[in-house]
Amino acid sequence: MTEAARVAHVTCLGCGCACDDIVLTVRDGRIVDAERACPLGVAWFGDGRVPGAVQVDGRQAESRVALDAAAELLRGARGRLFVFLGDDLTCAAQRAALGIADRLGAVADGVVSETAADGILAAQRRGRAGATLGEVRNRADLVLYWAVDPDARYPRYRERYAGHPSALHLHHHARTVISVSVGADAGPPAADLHFELRPEREIAVLAELRARLLGRTLGDAAGWGAELTRLAERITRARYVAIVADGESASEERSSDRTEALIALAQALNGPARAALSTLRGGGNRSGAEAVMTWQTGFPFAVDFSRGYPRYQPEVRGAALFERRPFAAVLVAGAPASLPQAMRPAFDGVPTVVVGPRASEAPFPSRVAIDTGVAGIHDAGVALRMDDVPLPLRAAVSGPPSAAGVLERLAALLAGGAR
C-alpha cells in the first residue's frame, strides 16, 4: 500500500457550479476521499477508476489499429453522419471532435440541445442580462429563486454563490431571499418571502411584473392581487437583483418564451437598479461544448456541416434528428452515458465509433471503442462553469490516454485521407 497523495484545488464537474476547491485524496490510483465535494461531486469523482480498453468489434485491439478502423469507417460512410459532443471532455477534446465533424460533413450536436436549447434560442432573440457567479455573491441584495431550489441539482450553489459569505458590496445590506414556486417546481423552503404560481399563469405573471416595473398600464385581464404587488414592490426596492432560474429544468412546460420573459424581466430591471439572470446549468463541460461550437462555427449547438460549412438547425436536433432515418455512421466523443436517453434507440444497427470515458461499456454495440480519461479527473485542460468562466482541470489520477489526444490523432488520420 502506497502513501496517500492529496491533490488540492481540483475542479468538480458534477454540476455546472464547477467548484474548484475540492481536495482529492488518492491512494493506489484510487480516489478515496473528495473533501468539500457535495453528493453530486462525490458521485462525479467516484473512485477515479475507469477502464482502459481499446476494442474493434468488441475485441481488444492495438490503438493504432482501432484508430485506423475508426477512420476507415467514418471516411467510408455514405449518407448523414452524426458527431456527438459529450460533456465530460475538455475544451481541447471538444475542439478536436468538432474538427472531425467539419471534415466529415457531419451533423454535430451535444447535450445542451436536449436540455437547454430553449433558453439559448430565447437569448438569441433578446440577448442576456447576466453576471458571473461572483457578482451574484458579492452584490445581490435580493436573490429571487424562480421555480428552482438549487439544493437538489446544484447543491453548493447557495453556499458558494448566493449564501452569506463576506460579500464585498453588501457590508451594510442584508440579503433578501424570495422563493417563487411554479407548480411542482418549488423554490427553496428557506426564504424571506414565498410565492406560488400555477404554471399556466407563469408567463402572464412575468409579463405583468415587467409591465409594472416599466410603469405600463395593464388591461382588465390582469390578475394582479395583493401578493404580486408585494413582490413587485420588494423587487423595486433592491439595488441588485439576482434572478436564479434553472436553464435545464426537467419540466415539460418550459418553452423558450418563458425564458425570454425571464430575460426580458431581468433586462427591464436594469436602469432603475441592477439585475442579472443567473441560469443554472448542468454538469460536465457542457458550457464548454456550447462555447467551442460557437467559436468554431458561429452556432452554439445543432450544427450541420453537410454543405461544407456550418448551418444552424435547431429545429432538427437531439432526438428529432433520429426520427426520420438512421445515420450512416456515428462518432460519440465523450462518455456514452452522457447521451440523452431519447437518442439511444437510434444507435441500433448504426456503425458507431466511441471515443471517451467508458467507451468500452457503451450500452449499444460499437464497431470501435476507445476508452479515455475523464475531463478533470484524468485529463487536464479547461472547462467552462455554468456562467462561462473558464477553469483549469487537473489530472488528479492517472488513467487511459486523454480524449483530446485520441481525438486529435483520429482527426489527423482523417485529414490525411483527404490527400
Binding site: H9, D20, A92, R95, D102, R103, I120, A123, Q124, R125, G127, R128, A129, G130, A131, T132, L133, G134, E135, R137, N138, R139, R160, Y161, S166, L168, R239, Y240, Q267, N270, G271, A273, R274, A276, E290, A291, V292, T294, W295, Q296, T297, G298, F299, P300, F305, R307, G308, Y309, P310, R311, Y312, V382, D388, V389, P390, L391, P392, A415, A418, R419
Partner: protein, 549 residues
C-alpha cells in the same frame, strides 16, 4: 511552397521603419526571419511591379475572447447569412476548416480572413482576467496570425482598493502579476471606474474627477496609477486607454481632461473617434476632432488609434457596459450585459451605421478628420475597433478613403449632412495618404507603438511577415486581395489564394514584480473570489513570453 528560404524579387518596397519608401529591391527570408541575402538557387517570388510591405499589424481588435463568443452566440442570423466553406489549401498541409463570417466570424475564418487581407499580427483589446483561459483557447483555433491581448484592469476591485489607499507600488506589482498570470501583452483601461459605477448602481463616471461612490477613487487616480505602472514596468506598450464617457455629446471635455491629466507620460488612446464629440446649442453632437488631434499632434508621448466608423453592419461589443446600456436603450436592439466578478463588465448590441443617419455620418467624418489632420502617422494608426466601428474586412475600403480624395468626396456627398455643418471634413480636406503613410498606419506605426521590435518592418532580423499587393487604381480592391502573403517565412497566400494556414504565435509578457504583493492578493481572493487563487493563473501556454526591455 514552404521552403525555409525565399527571395521576393524586384518588388517596390515600402518599409518606413527602415527608411525605404518605394525603392525596388529584393526581400530575402530564411528560417522565418528577414535576412540580408540568400544563396543562389533559393526559390523566388516574382514581385516585379508589385508593392511590398511588412505584414499588417492590428493594434486594436476584438477577435478572441469570452465577450466575442457571447457576441457570436447572439448573432446566428449573421452567421447563417455568411457561410465560409473551408479554403482549399495545398495538398501537403492539413486541410482548412469551415466557419461563418459576419461581424464576428468564427475563429478559423477570422484567421483566414485577416491573413487574406495581408494582416499577420492582431491584438484583442479587451480580455477580462478571469476569462483569459478562454482567449488562449480561441487563439489556439485562430490560425496564421500572431496574437496577443490586453488585460482589463481599470475597474478591477483589488486595483481600485490600491488606488483608494494610494499604494502605487502595490498597484504596479499587482498589474505585473496579472499580465504574467493571464498571459497578456499590455494593460487596458476601459472607462476608468465607470464600469464599477455601473455595476454598483451609480450608472457611470463621465468626468475624470467624479468619485466612485463615497470613495476617493476617481478616473484620474486610476488612469495615473496604471499609466505609471505600465511605464515603470517598462512594458513595450504603454497603458491602452479607452476614455470615460464614450459616445456622448460633448465628451471631448472628458477626453481633453484625460489627455491633459496624463500629459508627458507614454499613453495610448484607443478608438479616439468615439471620444471626440462636441455639443451644439441644442445638445446635439458636433465634431471636435480638430481640438483633440491638435493635442495629439503636439504631445509626442501620446499615440492613438482612430476607431473609424464604416457604413454597414457592426456589432458594438465592449467592457464599457454603461455605454452599451445607453445604446440599447436608444436603438431598441437585442442586448447582452454581463457583469464580470471583481473585474469588469461586458455589453453587446448589434448596430448598423447608415449613410442616411446623421449620427453615423458624423462619426464617419470625425474619424476621417483625425486621420487627415494627423501630423504624425507613426502615432495616429488605423483601426475600426473591429467589430465596433465596422469589420476588419472594411480596412481596404478605409484605406481607399484615406488615399483617394475622389472616393472620399463622393461618399461625403451621399451621407446625411445634418450634423456636419462647420466640420473640417465638410469644408474640404485635400490630403491623400501615400503608400508609405499607409504602410506606417497599418504596419510600422502600430508595431512601434506596441513595442514589437520584430514586427512591422523588413529589416534584417525582423519576423518574415510580408505582404505583396498588385498595383491597382482601385485602392480598395488592391488592399482587399494581396497577391502574396508570407507569415513567419511561410507563404500563406499565393496568387491571391490562401494556400497554407500555420498556427500563429502568442505574444505575451511575464514582467517581474515584488512577490510580496501576492499574500495580500491571496487574501482578496480567499474573501471574495469564486475561483481559487491557485487556479487563477493560466499555465502551460504554448509560446514563451517575450523579453522586456
Amino acid at each position: 511552397m514552404s521552403a525555409s528560404r525565399l527571395r521576393i524579387v524586384g518588388g517596390t518596397v515600402y518599409d518606413p521603419a527602415n527608411g525605404t519608401d518605394g525603392q525596388v529591391r529584393d526581400v530575402c527570408i530564411q528560417d522565418g526571419r528577414i535576412v540580408a541575402d540568400v544563396p543562389h538557387g533559393t526559390p523566388t517570388l516574382d514581385a516585379r511591379g508589385m508593392v511590398v510591405m511588412p505584414g499588417g499589424v492590428d493594434i486594436h481588435s476584438h477577435l478572441a475572447s469570452s465577450a466575442c463568443n457571447h457576441g457570436r452566440r447572439l448573432l446566428p442570423e449573421e452567421h447563417a447569412a455568411d457561410p465560409a466553406a473551408a479554403p482549399e489549401l495545398d495538398p501537403d498541409v492539413a486541410p482548412a476548416r469551415s466557419g461563418t463570417g459576419g461581424t464576428l466570424p468564427s475563429t478559423f475564418t477570422t484567421g483566414y480572413r485577416y491573413a487574406g487581407l495581408g494582416y499577420t499580427t492582431v491584438f484583442d483589446a479587451a480580455v477580462a482576467p478571469i476569462t483569459a483561459r478562454h482567449t488562449h483557447e480561441e487563439f489556439d483555433d485562430t490560425p496564421i496570425v500572431d496574437g496577443g491581448f490586453f488585460v482589463l484592469l481599470g475597474n478591477d476591485e483589488y486595483l481600485l482598493r490600491q488606488v483608494e489607499a494610494g499604494d502605487r507600488n502595490r498597484a504596479r506589482d499587482y498589474a505585473a502579476w496579472m499580465i504574467g498570470a493571464t498571459g497578456a501583452y499590455a494593460i487596458k483601461i476601459v472607462n476608468a471606474g465607470g464600469i464599477q459605477a455601473w455595476k454598483s448602481g451609480q450608472r457611470n463616471l463621465t468626468e475624470i474627477d467624479e468619485p466612485l461612490g463615497s470613495s476617493r477613487v476617481t478616473p484620474r487616480a486610476i488612469l495615473e496609477t496604471l499609466t505609471d505602472a505600465a511605464n515603470e514596468l517598462r512594458l513595450p506598450h504603454p497603458v491602452h486607454v479607452h476614455c470615460n464617457n464614450l459616445g456622448a455629446a460633448g465628451n471631448v471635455k472628458t477626453t481633453m481632461e484625460t489627455m491633459e491629466a496624463l500629459a508627458g507620460r507614454r499613453v495610448h488612446y484607443t478608438h479616439l473617434q468615439f471620444h471626440c464629440y462636441g455639443r451644439n446649442a441644442d445638445g446635439g453632437w458636433t465634431s471636435a476632432a480638430d481640438r483633440v488631434i491638435d493635442f495629439v499632434n503636439s504631445d509626442r508621448t501620446v499615440s492613438v488609434d482612430v476607431g473609424q466608423v464604416m457604413f454597414g453592419p457592426a456589432t458594438t461589443l465592449s467592457a464599457d457596459a454603461p455605454a452599451e446600456y445607453l445604446l440599447q436603450a436608444s436603438s431598441g436592439r437585442k442586448w447582452v450585459n454581463i457583469d464580470v466578478e471583481l473585474e469588469t463588465g461586458c455589453g453587446i448590441v448589434p448596430y448598423r451605421y447608415r449613410e442616411r443617419a446623421a449620427m453615423s455620418a458624423l462619426q464617419w467624418a470625425v474619424g476621417l478628420e483625425l486621420f487627415l489632420l494627423s501630423e504624425d502617422p507613426w502615432r495616429v494608426v488605423l483601426s475600426t475597433d473591429h467589430p465596433n466601428g465596422g469589420s476588419f474586412m472594411s480596412y481596404p475600403a478605409l484605406i481607399q478613403l484615406l488615399m483617394d480624395r475622389g472616393a472620399r468626396d463622393a461618399m461625403l456627398k451621399r451621407v446625411n449632412p445634418r450634423l456636419l455643418a462647420g466640420s473640417v471634413l465638410a469644408d474640404g480636406l485635400s490630403r491623400e495618404y501615400t503608400l508609405n503613410e499607409i504602410a506606417i498606419v497599418t504596419r510600422a506605426g502600430p508595431a512601434r507603438v506596441l513595442g514589437l521590435r520584430h514586427k512591422g518592418h523588413l529589416g534584417v532580423g525582423a519576423d518574415a511577415d510580408v505582404t505583396v499587393y498588385t498595383r491597382d487604381s482601385d485602392i480598395a480592391r488592391m488592399f482587399a486581395t494581396p497577391r502574396y502573403v508570407v507569415k513567419g517565412g511561410v507563404l500563406v497566400v499565393e496568387e491571391g489564394r490562401l494556400r497554407r494556414a500555420p498556427a500563429g504565435r502568442r505574444l505575451r509578457l511575464d514582467p517581474g514584480y515584488d512577490a510580496a504583493v501576492l499574500r495580500d492578493v491571496r487574501r482578496h481572493f480567499d474573501a471574495y473570489a469564486t475561483v481559487e487563487f491557485e487556479n487563477f493563473p493560466v499555465r502551460d501556454l504554448r509560446d514563451a513570453p517575450l523579453e522586456i526591455g
